[in-house]
Amino acid sequence: MGLVQHEIEAAGFSTISLSVIPELTASAGAPRVAAIEHPFGMTLGRPGDAAGQLAVLRAALQAMEEIVEPRGVVHLPFEWTSTEKLALGPPAQPPIAQYLVRHPWALPRFLSRTPPLNGD
């Protein structure tokens, strides 16, 4: 996401990412990040929690006004207090996970994000 944000900002739009993995988003060159400690798939909040979602979106937009130089990260104050066990993973193992089980020697490539050049 950081890469796409990078391109949109460079084209003359003011951008912010609302990210549950802010370290990763920031490392890819995001100019502004609003960090939020919410589970994957529920960045804005729980399904049906309109008030919570509105508060998060409003806070992300306010962070946009607060950040005055590139690489700014604002940590939003929302706490995820529920201890309920959530199924956060996908219904089926993603293709790359299945691939790495069959091709364990490709793991260093995956960890360093240097995919083989063929394909697409």
């Binding site: 003011s14 589970p39 049906g48």
Partner: protein, 169 residues
């Protein structure tokens, strides 16, 4: 009062946690573009971008076979979602998240209705007519950047957008 410090890895475990930590510590992009906010938010037109691979049900879905054939890559196309879009109109095609939450309430990942509310309250100038989504996981982003991002930029300009809020998944 101690300020909140977000733990990027709280909801991750095992190998996934290790991988994302490793990625976050790879050499960082140092050349960061900057477009200052030119006017108050109450005068800005705002658009949303989601990497959850959201497609209108009446539109062509993202193709998961591309990633199944080549797990280092993903469908590099993008979809446009109008600001009138609602939960039942959208299919979640991302292969790395549980799509159940967004399928119950689109606003959990793409807060279209919340953005419309902020516009009605006058906290932002307007919600842009269009929002955008692409398939976020790919280790080869070149085609996404070359083939899809220019189309998104063109439409952002046509719709006089000032601010873009991106929601990665």
């Amino acid at each position: 009062m101690v300020a909140k410090s977000v733990d990027s890895y709280r909801f991750l475990h095992g190998i996934e946690k290790k991988v994302l930590k490793r990625w976050a510590n790879l050499p960082q992009e140092t050349n960061i573009p900057w477009t200052p906010l030119a006017k108050p938010l109450s005068m800005c037109t705002v658009s949303l971008v989601s990497s959850a691979a959201l497609a209108l049900r009446i539109d062509e879905p993202f193709n998961p076979e591309i990633e199944r054939r080549d797990p280092w890559f993903a469908d590099p196309s993008y979809r446009v979602l109008p600001r009138t879009v609602r939960t039942g109109d959208v299919q979640v095609c991302h292969l790395h998240i549980n799509p159940a939450f967004a399928e119950q309430d689109l606003n959990s990942v793409l807060p279209v209705e919340r953005l419309n509310e902020l516009a009605e309250r006058g906290e932002i100038g307007a919600a842009a007519p269009s929002h955008y989504s692409y398939m976020g996981y790919t280790l080869r982003p070149e085609r996404l950047l070359r083939e899809s991002v220019p189309g998104i930029l063109r439409q952002l300009r046509q719709e006089n957008v000032d601010v873009v809020v991106l929601v990665p998944v």
